[in-house]
Amino acid sequence: MTDVLIIGGGICGSTVARELSRYELSITVLEKGVDVSSGTSKANSGIVHAGFDAEPGTLKGKLNAKSNAMFDRLAKELDFPFRRSGALVLCFDEADMPKLEELKARGEKNGVEGLTIINRDELLKLEPNISDNAVAALYAPTSGIVCPYEMTMAFAENAVQNGAEFKFNEKAVSVSKDGEIFTVKTESGHEYKSKILINAAGLYADEINNMLSERKLKIQPRKGEYSLFDKAVFGFVNHTIFQLPTKLGKGVLVTPTVEGNMLIGPNAEDVDDKTDVSTTAEGHKEIFEKAELSVKNIPYKQIIKSFSGLRAHESGDDFIIGEAPDCENFINMAGIESPGLSSAPAIALMVVDIIKEKHSLRPKDKFNPCRRPVIRFRDLDNEERDRVIKENPAYGRIVCRCETVTEGEIIDAIHRPLGATTVEGIKRRTRAGLGRCQSGFCSPKLVEILARELGVDITEVRNSVNGSNILIGKDKLIGDIKDEKR
């Protein structure tokens, strides 16, 4: 029995777990994946939106700008990469200038600071590769970029440092309330009980909600495809570049990532399957065509990875945050699509406030808001590098040459709170294997280190989900399998 059960270890579950861990509460997070940030939170644009886009009065409009302002402190406390790179919304037609003005006014109503409209000359100074058709832009200096999974990880880890517990491979299959007590049964056969239940189940938030509340929700998976470019194109764009909607519909963005790559995407395609993260030729054609409206001479040869993510779109088109009207102490964090990542820290505070209305929460004396810093070898100067190697020789062994990641960082990623248990887990914590060779060189080494540090056989090492094993057996074992068949 815990005070709070949270279903879902994505950005919502992790931020709210961290904010609740400030209080004397027992907290358990149930995650169906093998790691935090396994769903929508791992594959999105990684933008900390300024907050001009949402309609004033909506939760999106209310929370986004407020949340944006929290990021400098959070990034520092939790040691995740964040940069205020600024954003531009391009206007391609003088006739559309009123729309740009409208967007600016909307942003100001939402509390976004520093919005200005700039002309083509000013735009060219900021973005030399901008399309010849861009006539003006709305400039939003507070917009930022973040690595979504590193951010999620940071919140989750800090929550664990402060006493929260994460359970992986725990897919909630039934949720019920008996008197004041919630019971969550998982696919693995376990049962969890709590006084407060928070629904942060992302794409599955409707299924959880609908088991407890008559106010039904419908989450529509909306797929977005992306292409990621080599760091060699660093500086090709300097800001997150959006488009005013055109005849082609809502545009795509072109943005630097916080790690120095470039990202283009996403399109928006409603799909039936909540696990469909496939990429398609058509989807990529669409994002390329739309990206070309914003910038010219896109260096397509430098693409190193294509991927898709699913947005958790709710038909009401706004976040659904709050206690279900017909189920006390059951709190939804549903329909958290863009600007969901940007708003998550403020959403978490809102949920804490909702709980505070009914429960008195006692602050923890020894809450530590700071995550133990991560050594990122590539960001150190040579003196610091020399020092960390002298302290721990594993930092002198570079495993990933493309991203300059050392064995020391990989071992730390495995043994930190909520450590990596899969190759993907290492990649997302350290960036090993996420560079231009896409782990061609380092994956055998990553597999070997994982097996060694986890104390498992090398064939048990998985890429990501259960069943995604990298190797199937020893060389000669294949012969044995064949013999058996005979």
Partner: protein, 418 residues
């Protein structure tokens, strides 16, 4: 900061040959830096034979070929560091490397030889669409798993791309008991060596589908199948030709890319065709005193040529470290009709010390043509070629005497002619 005459980045076939040659040409001090735990580079995982036919007139395996040079390095007491990764090179020839024992190492080099090899083009770079699943590896990664680590990545294999590593791996996986369903090649011809097609595919009845590609990969956890489609003349998949093939593993052999991220830090100008440095006949890059050889310069088909080229580069690196300066490269070596690129790209019309060896690749398959080398538009070499293919590197050698007898050299060109 230490000072070293000749610093060699990489201890694979190029670095090894350069080290031995630098020593023989009298370098006072040499240091070879290798990121792996042993010398030999990629040769260590190439356990098949076929190496050294030109160089040693014998057929060796990759490790045996490497061993010939490693023995020489040991005999000549050439210093090297293992498990040591170079993280920076500057225009002023300062090299920064790290390892566990020494921490951060800074070296002022008299000359630098970049012999860092190449990497495989990853899946993400070639727009294979479909599911996000395990079971997709580059052929070289699979080769390391199988030949070095002793583990199999799968047992029902499709190979995309008919580069040499893909062909070699088709045979290797078959010998290990896996079923290689097919090798799929988008071009109407293979980019691999003909001998590999015969010995690695034909001998094992592995089909090679030319003008085909993979249009989708399917599988939730591990790969379950791929969709193979025929392509048209513009390499676009033809609708209606899709065929789903069950497999648990997809190996990619879709091209090799010289690894020059480090070179760029030292302002080395790269060719957009080879991905390697633009070098002169002394293998010197656009940054004085920085030399390049082996697969970091351009991707080779045979290691024998890597060794030859690297020995040459080292000779001039030793010269440079000793203070010798050559007159500027004033002659362009042009890739003419049917030729994709040449190495070197330019040369000096003065200070001619050696025969000029030009290596190049042709742009497509040709039958019954000539390879010609021209100085100032006049043919000086004309050689009949019954068959030419892009997979096989070509060489022409213009004799020193021929170069010297020219009153003035304006340009040199290599072409495929009738």
């Amino acid at each position: 900061m230490r000072s070293v005459d000749v610093v060699i980045v990489g201890g694979g076939p190029a670095g090894l040959a350069a080290a031995v040659s630098a020593k023989k040409h009298g370098a006072d001090s040499i240091l070879m830096l290798e990121r792996d735990a042993s010398l030999g580079g990629i040769l260590n995982q190439c356990i098949h034979s076929g190496f050294g036919l030109h160089r040693f007139k014998e057929e060796l395996t990759g490790p045996e070929y490497a061993d010939r040079y490693i023995k020489l390095v040991e005999e000549l007491n050439i210093p090297y560091l293992l498990n040591t990764t170079v993280i920076d090179i500057t225009r002023e020839r300062k090299v920064t490397a790290v390892n566990s024992d020494d921490g951060v190492i800074e070296i002022q080099a008299g000359a630098i030889i970049i012999a860092a090899g190449c990497r495989e083009r990853p899946a993400g770079a070639i727009n294979i669409f479909g599911d996000r699943c395990a079971g997709i590896y580059t052929a070289g990664t699979a080769q390391k798993f199988v030949n070095i680590d002793g583990y199999m990545p799968g047992k029902k294999i499709i190979i995309l791309g008919s580069g040499d590593i893909g062909l070699i791996m088709a045979r290797r996986m078959t010998l290990e008991g896996a079923k290689v369903e097919a090798v799929i090649e988008i071009m109407p011809f293979s980019s691999g060596l003909n001998r590999n097609i015969v010995q690695c595919l034909n001998d094992f009845n592995i089909p090679l589908y030319l003008s085909h590609t993979i249009t989708s990969v399917n599988g939730k956890e591990r790969l379950e199948s791929v969709v193979v489609s025929e392509v048209d003349k513009n390499l676009k998949p033809i609708k209606g030709t899709e065929r789903e093939v069950e497999c648990d593993t997809l190996l990619l052999s879709v091209g090799l890319l010289p690894e020059n991220e480090m070179s760029k830090k030292a302002d080395v100008v790269l060719s957009s065709i080879t991905g390697g440095a633009i070098v002169n006949e002394r293998f010197e890059t656009s940054t004085p005193g920085i030399f390049a050889c082996g697969n970091v310069l351009h991707v080779h088909d045979l290691v024998d040529y890597v060794s030859e080229e690297s020995e040459h580069a080292a000779k001039y690196a030793v010269d440079f470290a000793g203070g010798r300066r050559y007159s500027p490269s004033d002659v362009e070596i042009k890739a003419g009709n049917g030729v994709r690129y040449t190495v070197p790209f330019k040369m000096s019309s003065k200070d001619i010390e050696d025969d000029l060896t030009i290596r190049f690749r042709v742009t497509g398959r040709f039958k019954d043509k000539k390879i010609r080398a021209l100085i100032n538009g006049e043919p000086v070499i004309s050689r009949a070629e019954p068959a030419l293919a892009p997979g096989e590197m070509q060489t022409v050698v213009i004799r020193k005497e021929k170069l010297e007898e020219q009153a003035e050299i304006k340009d040199i060109m290599v072409e495929v002619a009738d």
